[in-house]
């Protein structure tokens, strides 16, 4: 079974077509990178796959569940890290993880295990006892990433997971994602940082102005366009 199937997906905001009949498929366990400049339609696509926007037309299946009619089932097995996400300001980091775990855990014991996993991912230690409002951007991002991975989702949808982070924090976040992928989580991520995606992804799709222009493994794409990196591929494809 495919982890994600997207067919002729289109999204209009009024007169503006943000996503224009895109198709792509993601294999189970794969890290799939959607790359393109700002305003290309990445966030819109990820929001649709994550069930929070309804497509104007087209079909999406997540592990065989149909988007629209089976959203409840999809929400059980995915987790979404929004591009610009925050946590409840007057909860502690721990309180936030506990609250979010409450939606997935079967019982108290199960919840404890989920939160424990998150604590391990964040590596924030005692700072988790502090209010989220006192966290730095990097800490918040790690908290949120931990929140999305702690439940071992079958599909993790990560919108610009390293967006706005410094080198060290980005490095750590990328390693966490890699680690989880090895444990079997399928990852759909977006980035406008093409070098980062090249390092992280098994497969990439180049998106611009709502259309997917090219798709393949980083190695194949570089070979096809005789480029040294994906940035050069993108420039070639667009021109």
């Amino acid at each position: 079974m495919k982890a994600v199937e997207v067919r002729k997906l289109t999204k209009n905001y009024g007169d503006l077509r943000a996503v224009d009949e895109i198709d792509f498929e993601i294999e189970e366990g794969e890290i799939f990178g959607l790359i393109g400049p700002n305003g290309a339609g990445k966030t819109t696509t990820l929001r649709i796959v994550s069930t929070i926007l309804t497509p104007s037309s087209g079909e999406v299946f997540v592990y065989g569940f149909e988007l629209g009619s089976e959203n409840d089932k999809i929400r059980e097995i995915i987790s979404y890290l929004p591009e610009e996400a925050g946590a409840y300001k007057n909860l502690t980091g721990f309180g936030y993880l506990d609250f979010m775990a409450g939606f997935y855990a079967k019982d108290v014991h199960d919840k404890g295990k989920i939160v424990e996993k998150a604590i391990e991912i964040t590596q924030l230690g005692d700072r988790l006892k502090d209010k989220v409002s006192t966290y730095s951007k990097g800490m918040t991002r790690k908290l949120l990433l931990a929140r999305s991975l702690m439940i071992h989702p079958r599909l993790a949808v990560l919108d610009e997971p390293t967006g706005g982070l410094d080198v060290v924090n980005s490095f750590e976040v990328r390693n966490i994602i890699k680690e989880f992928s090895k444990q079997g989580t399928t990852v759909l991520l977006s980035s406008h940082n093409m070098l980062e995606v090249e390092f992280l992804s098994d497969k990439v799709a180049l998106i611009d102005r709502g259309r997917i222009l090219e798709e393949g493994t980083p190695v194949d794409l570089k070979a096809k366009y005789k480029a040294r990196n994906l940035e050069e591929v993108f420039v070639e494809v667009v021109s």
Partner: protein, 421 residues
């Protein structure tokens, strides 16, 4: 249901913040201070008041007048000089505000019906509430003196007739009529006894509706402001639970806040102390609420809260942060204040037709008007109001749940912002 309580716990926690508690604490502290000051002023006012007296006449009548003052809760202090200026200085030194000067030919003029002038000096030190209290004392002093002399004159001229009969040759008997019932009582007393209902219930309603509205708007706007909404919407929980949890916790916190204000008002300002003896009168007039009436009132309040929550939700969805959400609520504030002031200051039935339609179209109006209508037996009217409120809240909740399961929850603000540019 577990997931629902998980949400409810979080939402309630989010509302109970320092920003919420500080104004409540300040208001309660303010009420308690005002209450203390008013209490001690009241106590001072009922204590016997010292007044300075300079008696230029020294007759039997002037002595009788001073006696009368003493009997009427004043302590008359003779200044010991026969000079007004010195007497004023004397009073000032003793901290006395009022000086009464009885003129030289006082008794003679009274006997000859020449209306002698008694000078009453009010020695003012400022313009505080305490000073304004002096004016009522001056009036009291004058009344005591005048009364004493007129009693004296009447006894002299009409021997054998009780002076009170001459002063008040008729007596009034007040009878209040309500519908087919009547009872012996003054209309002022009846109005005062109805205070609990006519003042308190509107205040409770106003506080509860406005606070509920602010609370739910905060909850929704904070999800946007803190950028937590997107995540919450991908969580495996029924969207209606997300909305319901916000409504319930907003209502709970609003009720707690209202209770706190109400406690402060009754405890410290003593507003609720209506005359107790009049409850028989109220019962005789049928101006009491039966258990059934209270039930209807409760239902009406419930649906007023429900409709304010639903409307506020719809408005808050279109705001980007907490501040703009509070701005969005302005129309709700207006629509709550209109029936609030109307019920306090006028009778809706005296308004012109279009205004009356407007008032009845506001769902909260029916709750504000319910107490009066129930007391005066217009039960049918209250029931129609409740039916309207049920339909109104049902429609609004339907719209709110639709919004909660649509893109608009997420894109509402963006679209507005886009249209502006």
């Amino acid at each position: 249901m577990n997931k629902f309580f998980n949400l409810l716990k979080k939402d309630t926690k989010e509302l109970i913040t320092v920003q919420l508690l500080i104004p409540i604490i300040i208001v309660i502290a303010m009420y308690s201070t005002i209450g203390n000051i008013m209490g001690s002023e009241m106590e001072r006012a009922t204590r016997p008041q010292q007044i300075a007296v300079v008696d230029f006449n020294g007759s039997a009548l002037s002595n009788q007048v001073i006696d009368m003052l003493e009997k009427s809760n004043f302590i008359a202090v003779e200044t010991g000089t026969f000079n007004v200026e010195d007497s004023i200085n004397f009073a000032r030194k003793k901290g006395i505000n009022i000086l009464v000067a009885i003129p030289e030919n006082f008794e003679e003029d009274v006997v000859n019906l020449k209306q002698p002038e008694v000078e009453i000096y009010s020695i003012m030190k400022g313009l505080s509430v305490r000073e304004t209290g002096t004016s009522t004392q001056v009036e009291a002093v004058f009344n005591v003196i005048s009364n004493a002399i007129s009693t004296n004159l009447i006894t002299q001229k009409f021997t054998g007739i009780p002076p009170d009969v001459i002063k008040q040759p008729i007596k009034a008997r007040d009878i209040v009529v309500v519908k087919d019932r009547m009872a012996q009582a003054s209309p002022a007393l009846v109005a005062q006894s109805a205070m609990n209902f006519s003042i308190f219930i509107p205040i409770i309603l106003m506080l509860v509706t406005i606070t509920s509205s602010q609370m739910i708007a905060s909850l929704i706007a904070l999800e946007k402001q803190n950028k937590t909404l997107e995540t919450l919407l991908t969580v495996p929980v029924n969207r209606n639970f997300i909305l319901l949890s916000k409504m319930v916790s907003a209502a709970i916190v609003a009720i707690i806040v209202t209770a706190a204000y109400l406690f402060a008002m009754t405890r410290f300002l003593g507003i609720s102390q209506g005359p107790q003896a009049s409850s028989d009168v109220m019962r005789a007039l049928g101006l009491t609420l039966t258990t059934g009436d209270f039930l209807l009132l409760g239902i009406s309040i419930f649906f007023a809260i429900l409709s304010v929550l639903a409307v506020s939700t719809i408005l808050a969805v279109y705001s980007e942060d907490e501040k703009s959400a509070q701005l969005m609520l302005t129309p709700i504030m207006v629509f709550v204040m209109i029936p609030y002031f109307l019920t306090i200051f006028t009778d809706v039935n005296t308004l012109s037709m279009p205004l009356r339609v407007l008032v009845y179209a506001i769902p909260f109006s029916h709750t504000f008007l319910a107490t009066n209508n129930l007391m005066f037996g217009n039960v049918q009217f209250v029931i129609y109001g409740i039916i309207y409120q049920i339909i109104f809240s049902f429609v609004c909740i339907l719209i709110a749940t639709r919004i909660f399961s649509s893109d608009r929850l997420l894109t509402g603000r963006l679209r507005l912002a886009r249209r502006r540019v």
